[in-house]
Symmetry: C2
């Protein structure tokens, strides 16, 4: 009795913000798992900013999604058939199942999830790739020290909220940037940021800078970069000598296309940045979290108990239905989500 | 019998390239050394790109030279009076004597130079601040590994030629960039670079990139940044995953003023750079060599014998007369010097 599998494919490459017609819903019988493989019925799938890059046909750290191919992404669900000794029907597993109701992966690359340890959606956010990204980038490249000032944008997202909470736990002053007064309130009240600035209140990098200067009277030691744009412009002149900038994303520029064409800003930005790096002896580290999964166990060891005890908070924004994934994705790039964006697939 | 001291003061802050009227030659009796101080009659003074930054009145890593103040800089000369037990008349010493025929410094901050170990001018270049800059930036932040490809501009300058030769000694492929066929020949024949590109032959970053791509078939692992401009634009797209960029200068942008205003380039440069840092997981490290003089002894231990044995080459370009320092300085920013620019003061 084969189940029907629905999946969302990339119908064409978006220009700027993705629209509905860039995607297509397809149906087919769910495939049978081959040797060593596991078939999972997806309960929740993850939406993450990096997926925008996969829609472009440009050199990046990963192959683009092919046209008519299933959109990629992490998801969690219930095993319904298994040819792998570690998994049996009824188990829960996280894997790269894509934007689909069902997925097949080799059992060797799946992570088993125990629903008794909390909501299975945590494997997509706070205890998954985004949380790991925040923890790794901050601790490995940010090297936070007590009394330092940390700035992170997208403060209520799953990466930013991890960065902020770990930095607080290490004794830093943490200033968030988020879109809208509601998110700023959440950053302070739910996630414990010392302050959070609403970037919508500032027209450009200069205004952003003035607000940040007030919120960071001792300058900025660590800027965890995940948005770029005017936040970056505002932050750079305030970096202290020896400051660190882990770079894991640039969401405000993603819709500008692979090479940032028409991303705005003045033509002297690069010389200004370069001068700041020199004058303030900054250390800028680009990283892609998939290079570092050898550290995932360290992450779970530190952060797992903090989540279990309730010390480390997380917030999820759950859209309903696979067919709404494109809309939810677009909303996330526009900052409409509150907390980690997830789609409930069944 | 007091000697007459000549010095060049900053008469006004230059706009763009410094011109003669930005400076003024002054004469006064040479001062007397105070307690613990040493008076030196300068033989050679150093001209270095960083001095352009000192002429601007902008936040930098050092205080600007005040108007009517003596231009700063390192110099080497003969002790003619000393109130410090480590120095006696006839000794040679390196210190920050500025653009002047005489200088006074506390004996504690002077470095004694032994003329028996080679030309005293080496203390201004290959065995001084520029050579140390190249060695430190390459080894500490570049982390060169055998078989990697290193690109360095201003290849025949005292920093670039050090970077290239140390990188070669560590088994790297080294590609230089320099201005004009004569310098390129020097980079290859004198300093042992594998290849050297004449940046004048390339109109912009795109042409620079095409030439670099051919010279670096395995991509670029380390870009030692000391010029910025079109070389930087050409290099960035060719950086390999995990590449390192030590940043110690940006000579092509110095004359653009402190904040790089009108430095040229298109307005999407910053997004492009930022994307490259992310996609290729680059590590960018700004540094100012004066932070790292605790490593100077390590440098001398490794490089001193290489210079003494002739394994490590150096070339000096010696201008005659203090009054010609402004012209020689301007020429250096335009790349007219061949090798380390020095001024013979007496």
């Amino acid at each position: 009795m084969t189940e029907t599998m629905k999946r969302i494919v990339l119908a064409r490459r978006p220009t700027g913000a993705p629209v509905d017609d860039d995607f297509r819903l397809e149906e087919s019988p769910a495939p049978e798992p081959g040797e060593g493989e596991v078939l999972v019925r997806v309960h929740y799938m993850s939406l993450d900013p990096y997926m925008r890059g996969r829609m472009d046909d440009a050199k990046s750290y990963a192959t683009p999604v092919p046209l008519d191919g299933t959109m990629e992404g992490g998801a969690v669900g219930e095993v319904i058939a298994s040819n792998h000794p570690n998994f049996k029907p009824g188990d829960f597993a996280f894997g790269m199942f894509g934007w689909a109701t069902h997925g097949i992966q080799p059992g060797d690359v799946l992570r088993k999830i125990d629903p008794a340890h909390g909501p299975i959606t945590a494997s997509l956010g706070v205890l998954g790739m985004p949380g790991f990204t925040g923890w790794f980038g901050l601790t490995e490249y940010g090297q936070p020290k007590e009394g330092e000032t940390v700035v992170v944008a997208a403060a209520t997202g799953p990466v930013g909220s991890m960065v902020g909470q770990i930095a607080k736990a290490r004794g830093c002053r943490v200033v968030g940037v988020a879109g809208g007064p509601e998110k700023c309130k959440m950053a302070v009240e739910t996630f414990g940021f010392d302050e959070c600035l609403d970037h919508r209140a500032y027209a450009d990098g200069a205004e952003m800078r003035a607000a940040l200067a007030e919120a960071c009277p001792k300058g900025i030691d660590i800027y965890f970069e995940n948005v770029a744009g005017k936040v970056l412009e505002g932050v750079l002149p305030l970096m202290n000598v020896g400051g660190r900038i882990p770079v894991c994303g640039m969401i405000s520029w993603y819709n500008a296309g692979a090479l940032g064409a028409n991303a705005g800003g003045d033509k002297d930005q690069l010389p200004k940045l370069w001068r700041m790096i020199l004058v303030n002896r900054l250390h800028v580290h680009g990283f892609i979290i998939s290079d570092h999964f050898d550290r995932f166990a360290d992450f779970m060891r530190e952060v797992g108990p903090m989540v279990a005890s309730g010390q480390l908070k997380f917030v999820e924004d759950i859209a309903e239905g696979l067919e709404n994934a494109p809309r939810a994705f677009r909303g996330m790039l526009e900052g409409k989500n509150k907390g980690k964006q997830v789609v409930k697939v069944i």
